[in-house]
Point group: C2
Chain length 345, copies 2
């Protein structure tokens, strides 16, 4: 089906577009009362992820309500460990919890490389339903966690400020770490290829815990596997967003992907210098800027657009939108990007 709005695809391919495309990480979620209503009708977050019709419904909400230029499939990065044999729970107000973790080679033997069609069919179904209901209005973004970030949860079992247990394994049992990272990578490649086959128009890889590794370990245990993924997803543009990996920007400029996401701490011009002129950059307004007044949001957004320049940029926040942000403020951000970037040309 032909896309009526393919701005983000053209921008990701480096083409000059009539204005800068815009979407927000976590746009489908708690900021919208319409999302909270759907969520309240189900038993929990994981049930929502596993119910394709409802996942599609909340995926499309921000397209209708906020006017963004892309939808991103409503799902969770932790579906991969579950598909590999390590299930998780979502504890209200606390986050994900894995009752079992990977501590040893014998734990690893219990896991398998995920079979996307059988183990993750519910995500693929949600993508198909979404594509049908979007009817070409905007492109659909598929996604997965980077292997290092998934590894962190599988070793640690829950969120952590330092993920020291996961990092410990890199020092103590690097062979075991590589084996698990490779299994996650193979699972993720199969999963992302299946997402593309199901209709995803663009893919984003989230390395949420990039920022806790020293540069040498990051290249060795994270970028290496992200690079494998980038090398085999050839059908659609790929975005890599590695939060906190400021020390790896030069190396990320060499990845076989189209777009690099910047977090809100990363200086825009400095990042362009390190990443080089070829890549499209995505980001990076401080999510807290949306707590400001309408006028302050306009100014902050315009300043950001001026720093990126009119081309090779996909506008976004530098992190997921915070759940208590007023959707009206998000609309100010989206509207400012659309109007100001058109005038920039």
């Amino acid at each position: 089906m032909e896309l009526k709005n393919d701005l983000i695809i053209r921008a990701a391919k480096g083409e000059q577009t009539e204005r800068t495309p815009v979407w927000l990480m976590r746009q489908a979620g708690r900021i919208l009362p319409e999302y909270r209503a759907v969520r309240a009708s189900l038993s929990g977050f994981i049930e929502l992820v596993k119910t394709p019709d409802r996942a599609a419904e909340v995926t499309i909400q921000p397209v209708d309500i906020l006017g963004v230029d892309a939808a991103i499939i409503f799902s969770d990065i932790l579906v991969i460990p579950e598909a590999m044999g390590l299930p998780y729970e979502m504890v209200e107000k606390k986050g994900p919890l894995f009752p079992e973790t990977v501590d040893s080679a014998s734990d690893l033997k219990k896991l398998k490389v995920a079979d996307a069609s059988s183990d993750l069919g519910y995500v693929l179904d949600a993508i198909k339903v979404t594509k049908r209901e979007l009817d070409g209005r905007v492109p659909l973004i598929g996604f997965a966690g980077a292997p290092w970030t998934i590894f962190c949860y599988m070793i640690e079992g829950h969120g952590s400020k330092t993920f020291s247990k996961a990092r410990k394994m890199l020092y103590n049992e690097p062979v075991l770490a590589d084996q698990l990272l490779q299994m996650i990578t193979d699972s993720t490649i199969a999963y992302l290829k299946a997402q593309v086959a199901a209709g995803a128009d663009i893919i984003q890889i989230f390395d949420s815990w990039a920022g806790i590794l020293p540069a040498n370990l990051y290249e060795r245990f994270s970028l290496k596997y992200i690079s494998q993924i980038c090398d085999v997803i050839e059908e659609v543009p790929v975005t890599v967003f590695a939060k906190g990996a400021y020390f790896a920007r030069r190396a990320m400029g060499q990845l076989n992907c189209q777009t690099i996401g910047l977090d809100w701490n990363m200086g825009i011009r400095e990042s362009r210098g390190l990443i080089g002129p070829e890549k499209v950059l995505q980001g990076n307004l401080d999510p807290c800027a949306l707590y400001g007044s309408e006028r302050e949001i306009q100014i902050a957004t315009q300043t950001m657009l001026d720093s990126f320049g009119p081309y090779k940029h996909i506008a976004n926040l530098g992190h997921g939108v915070y759940p208590d942000v007023d959707p009206e403020k998000v609309k100010v951000f989206v509207k400012t990007v659309k109007e100001y970037s058109a005038a920039q040309r």
Copy 2:
């Protein structure tokens, strides 16, 4: 009293020393069974902080056991909000919790600038006892949190991955934020001056939550206040450790302080280039490196020492030592610094 080992003082003043001094952030604490025994004999962490004889005892333990070149007074950065009128609790396995937080100008009116001698006398007493019992063996480091980090806890009430409530105030109520930050700064200056008067030989300012602000807000709401503190602590050397503030390294090179601490993500040569040749640098081995084998720790420590070079360096980890690290591994780190850095000369 004359110091028998004043290596860290001379290094902080930029003098060429016979070897590189070494200590560890969080060296007094849970890694040592001797600490855990003292801690178990009291009702809680805060009682230990408020009992000068016992605080002095655990302060000195790592000097005796690990052979470090400095003691750091056992205390907590959150004694400042408490002295300003906002008490906190330490919840086992969860961290600090403030029953009341600062949400408005009327909340601010309930607070005062801390009076160091009356409100924080227990810390000053602990410093005096420690100095007497150290008997000049090594220098004693005093410390405080940076105003921005203290502000985060006073607004948010507890730890957070994003401190979005604290950051929100910078956008929504910058005048109120500045008023509170100035009160914290004035309290901190009085507190640090009292620590020096009580015997602290060197001062470190910890900006634990530096890394969550964009560069412009960091300069405006954090460095500005750190700079005020640096400008008035003239009697002893000052170290500023701003975790995650990679984007502010050039600006930190301009602070009126002697030493800049680097976290384990910050490239050593890059940091030296940004900070400039004048400052002493402190850090920055990945705390997880201490999970490796004895040989791996030696190699990692030597590589770090080679990168810093023999002078203008105080060896440390890039973050506090993790509580489950074997003290024997810490000794390997300390011994390697001492021997290898002497041979570097």
